[in-house]
Symmetry: none
Subunit: 418 residues, 2 copies
Amino acid sequence: MNVEILCVGTEILLGDIVNTNSAFLARELASLGANVFHQSVVGDNPKRLKECLKLAIDKNDLVITTGGLGPTCDDLTKETVAEVFNRKMIKDDNSLNRIKEYFAKSGREMSVNNEKQALIPEGAVTLENNNGTAPGILIEDKNNNKTLIMLPGPPREMERMFKESVAPYISKRTGKTLVSSTVHIFGMGESAVEYKLRDLMNSLTNPTLAPYAKEGEVQLRITAQSDTKENAKSMIQPIIEKIKSIIPNEYIYGIDIGNLQTALVKLLNEKNMKIATAESCTGGLISKRITEVSGSSNVFECGICSYSERIKNKALKVDNNLISKYGVVSEEVAKAMAEGVRKFADSDIGISTTGVAGPTGATDKTPIGCVYVGVSTKNKCYATKLNLSRGKNDERELIRYLASSNALYIALTELKNN
Amino acid sequence: MNVEILCVGTEILLGDIVNTNSAFLARELASLGANVFHQSVVGDNPKRLKECLKLAIDKNDLVITTGGLGPTCDDLTKETVAEVFNRKMIKDDNSLNRIKEYFAKSGREMSVNNEKQALIPEGAVTLENNNGTAPGILIEDKNNNKTLIMLPGPPREMERMFKESVAPYISKRTGKTLVSSTVHIFGMGESAVEYKLRDLMNSLTNPTLAPYAKEGEVQLRITAQSDTKENAKSMIQPIIEKIKSIIPNEYIYGIDIGNLQTALVKLLNEKNMKIATAESCTGGLISKRITEVSGSSNVFECGICSYSERIKNKALKVDNNLISKYGVVSEEVAKAMAEGVRKFADSDIGISTTGVAGPTGATDKTPIGCVYVGVSTKNKCYATKLNLSRGKNDERELIRYLASSNALYIALTELKNN
């Protein structure tokens, strides 16, 4: 089943609001096994809307529109659809009663133009709006086997109506289910991953395998399609095994785990261990990411952002002589910071960052992007030197983010291996 | 000038990411005086992309694409555009050198398929990518007076390239110069702001005035159009004065200041004062935001993320009796945390957060979204209670973000008034 999503609304066209409706519908439709090859946005203009509708209906089995069902004279999706399908507009008594009830319940006055919301194209079916006034409308052209569904624009109304009325309708028509899994990779670039997996990707049709790059990480998404969820699931595992035989194990940090911080918090919980952070250049980003994860309070108690040398010494007991001898951005200071916070917090592992995020503060020895990540456990203490610059302007935030990701990854690797 | 926005990418088509690029481009194009009547999304599929491109070029003066410029074999926007425009693909030495430099600087290995990013359609012009490897491409068909501009998909790369290369190109073609200023508002909702300013907004045509809501903030954007930059600029100040006469002063935290953390760091620098943070529910987000600002090291030395009661006591000297008497999420503990970190860091002001971000941890007295922000200076100590829940699912990150924004705003207000 091929579906097109057509969002109607001048406020999306002008960029006043971000089009989250398209993303919601696309995701839901994909999980129902429908193909979406095209999404469009058009304003509240009958001529251009008509053109878009005709094109979309011509190329697809189902077209879903959002928006333009409101009570104002700008809202003309229904009227335009009725024209395209050659139907008259008729009053739907059932909808009119529901709208009247809705206003009576909320104690607001119903204005005359709300009655417009009860008009529907002849032969269409209404879909109940349990979060607002405008009903959805489903219209089938049985001769050409084309269906058009109109949903309201406000996400709260649209999403609920989709789940309650549209999803069951589509499932019934396609009889298909899709399941997907994500393999999370860190430390290997998108092109390198793609290069290694190209033959495998090209050889697959169902399941499919696709890489997505995301700020220093690569996610591999495997999607299988079958008649039942169980059958689709069973098709995925062999692909994961193949990926594991091609991508070295150290780069794969989890399957369907979400992100680095979730993987780390999960592993700490499993091991019943606690982590503490000492941050300089990342400024609190690592502790922010760890505490993003609900339940992190079991494994994280203390993060110290020691942005100055004075606080590195005062809070983390980093020896001032160490700082003057090796410099504040150094392996030795990173190690001392990790050790200092682990001891202060009485945790099982301490991690630290010290580096140059730029745009100022660079020296010959420590250029922009030079970051040390320190690790301290009861048995060992070490630091890793990273070069995170991509040589661009405005990369302060990117360097900080990559530094935090590397620190999370290094902690995860340390805990996995020991 | 009629422009169509065409976003290329299977991840948008599948709803894996929300299409913020369209919204950004639509808004920027509107402010440049260009008309956008249609936006489309299509996957990385040459046949369907070709169809969309042809339609878009046929109906518009300028088509802007995003995405599909990456190094993998999925990325085929350039090749497809070259076909539509009947051009060969040639190697652009300048781009190849830039990509090589990029990899050399970051010490990563350049894989063979990165060379693909240096191929461009014959006769096209490249646009510098100052945040990544893929250059943008501008291609003009002078016979038919059609232009197509290809931008990379990652928002960081695309937005910068638009501002640096595309906006000046469009300005030059339309012969118009636009200047805009932003008034930053915190603590007042979008509809309240809009209600107060509705008459002013409706009365204006040049300059224009438009509100944008952004995670708890409202930005008012004033855009003036004239023949020269100076003339356009001079039209803006009277509108700012009018806004100031309508919106109470306490809600306006700056003009063209970027964001709350930049305003705060700037004011601390001007006053030659230092701030320290003690964070519980925000988990380091406040210190992360402060240290985002280059030059923050002059005003910020120490942030303590005390996620457990034990660390609140050990690092911040919060009395355990206070915690057991009032609860850890309370006015008293927020005050003690702010006081504790100010004294430890020997700073001029200390700010703190303690609250319930959810989804767990709520009690009758402290439901999800209940957050206290504490402030301590040499002369006073107080805490503000906030209710930051919007009653939605998955609002942990939103609550944390709003808590950090409120803390920054409260610190800024305290420093302004004293």
